[in-house]
Symmetry: C2
Amino acid sequence: MTRKSHSITIRDVARQADVSVATVSRYINRNAPVSPEVAERISKVMAELNYVPHAAARHLATRKTRSIGLLLTTINYDFFTPLLSGLERVVAENNHNLLVATYRADLRKDYPPPVGPHNTDGVVVFADALQEEQLAQWYRMNFPMVLVHRTPPPYLNVPYVTIENKAASRKIVDHLIEVHGRRRIMFTRGLENHEDSHWRELGYKASLEAHGIPYDPRLIIRGEFDREVTYQEMSAFLANNHPDFDAVFASDDDSALGVIRALHDADIPVPEAVSVVGFDDQHFSCILPLPLTTVRAPTEEVGRMAGLQMFKLLQGEPADPMTLLPTEIVIRQSCGCNESQ
Amino acid sequence: MTRKSHSITIRDVARQADVSVATVSRYINRNAPVSPEVAERISKVMAELNYVPHAAARHLATRKTRSIGLLLTTINYDFFTPLLSGLERVVAENNHNLLVATYRADLRKDYPPPVGPHNTDGVVVFADALQEEQLAQWYRMNFPMVLVHRTPPPYLNVPYVTIENKAASRKIVDHLIEVHGRRRIMFTRGLENHEDSHWRELGYKASLEAHGIPYDPRLIIRGEFDREVTYQEMSAFLANNHPDFDAVFASDDDSALGVIRALHDADIPVPEAVSVVGFDDQHFSCILPLPLTTVRAPTEEVGRMAGLQMFKLLQGEPADPMTLLPTEIVIRQSCGCNESQ
DNA sequence: CCGGTTACAGTAACCGGTTACATTATTACA
DNA sequence: TGTAATAATGTAACCGGTTACTGTAACCGG
């Protein structure tokens, strides 16, 4: 064993196969003709030496990393499983790698994002993982990006894929009003700066307005898309003397769980006294004690679509500026309906 | 704009700061002293130019990728959210990147694994994502690996982290027998080649044996850790004339859900006629209509520990050959207990 | 005042691929 | 038969960092 335990390189293969490195490279990438006999020789030597091209060297030379990044704000929600799964499949099908990272632009202004032009060919950005300034900078350098659950600022032509939030929200609140006669409907706001929450709130307001119900800001509480936070907020709301209410539209299913628990603690019967509905139709929503009336969000499809758009960008094809995936409300029992299943 | 829209390199920084590239490199890596004034100049220029070192170039020179791989069999289970989350945190804390990939050794023998020595400094391998032969090969080349939910073959000294399956399984079956007087207990087997399932079955058998209950293979059905599969299998079991049973130990919580639904369809009251228990204590298990008696698996901790072991390996410190995380049974109501919460 | 450290900085080789350009042999065609 | 086009291959520069080696000046103890 020599002093360098160095790995086998393309030059080793070239020497053994008695050809030049260029030829080996061409054989590997099949981007120029190589005579059959030579191909055979190279192939044999590669197998013998167990040669695998060094990714970094390749990246350096081609300026392609063959990997794409996924930038999340957190990995706490079950929500991310389908997203990741959908994206990973597309990425793998295209023979690329997936770099998963978390980053909260608001918390780490001093550090650069863990994935970016330096280590990926493009990144899929979830919601507000990145601030506008960073998006703009990457946009200027033509770095491929796809936004999910976020609309780019109007001056940035970045493809985004998200779901139909407003119409579905409106529809589910319509349901509360029209079918169940609710008129004092609470809303548990999602995360600040999180667009989904914003649109859901707009849908909520639109429904109220359409039915001539005044908007009462006292019926809005914090939820942050988090079961615990919502539970705390809802409990606090109930503890103090609070305005009347007869329904809750939670900004997501996780939040709805917190609402239900708080109501349960306060001995308020659901759905008899208060209807509760959510958003997302998460994995668990149909198997709850009180199956949740909610909106089905095609999260896996969001991941898949984001991947498809990304590869369109990478192949120089025009990507769809906007992919808006349809949602549909699913009526179960937490609103007061009694679909026997 | 010149023909090359080339990115800014360390040489650009060096030129602007009027120092050599070596000095810039040393400043960036802080691996050799740099005078304060020069440091200041470099720092300023780097910020101005918005310079980020090119990862591939660095990899090539240092032969370190600063990224570690996670090799999964699938991303379908909610189970993976905590695993991923725990691992990602450690990886990020150590300033590395996380490459997530799926691979089924049994399905893709011809293709090499998507993560390996060519693009990572080490990989965390879940269960049977990789075959023994591949493990052995990487082991021979000293490639750092950590196994999760899998024991390495005895001749491979690869650290692994997993959870205590057998004792907890035995304890939960003991509970069914001792507290609820069950004696005809079914088991829904998890995935073939999946070690967890194997150990859980051993715990199950051990409990039976300790209580003098004969093992009846007719009480074992397929579950594959999957709600749907288990539902189908359990339904099929119930449809044909089947041996008596009074309890089911499902190999995981997802599977338990399938069991409960099948029993429900057949109008068999749970937990009155049949006790059902699971394993994992997933996110949803406590909020089910019938809160699940199960075993708490510290999955996030598994991810964290796997990461810690990996970085021990990378830093040349000795890693713990085995990390066995404790589990505990959590008694809720699906077994027949009636903990009012 | 002198030999030996030490702190700081620069030059250039090197990591392992890709590829522009050059070269040679072969085939096609007027 | 001469010439152009084409196929197959080789040479060497280049991608953007790191670092071994070298040099200089300041500092230190005797």
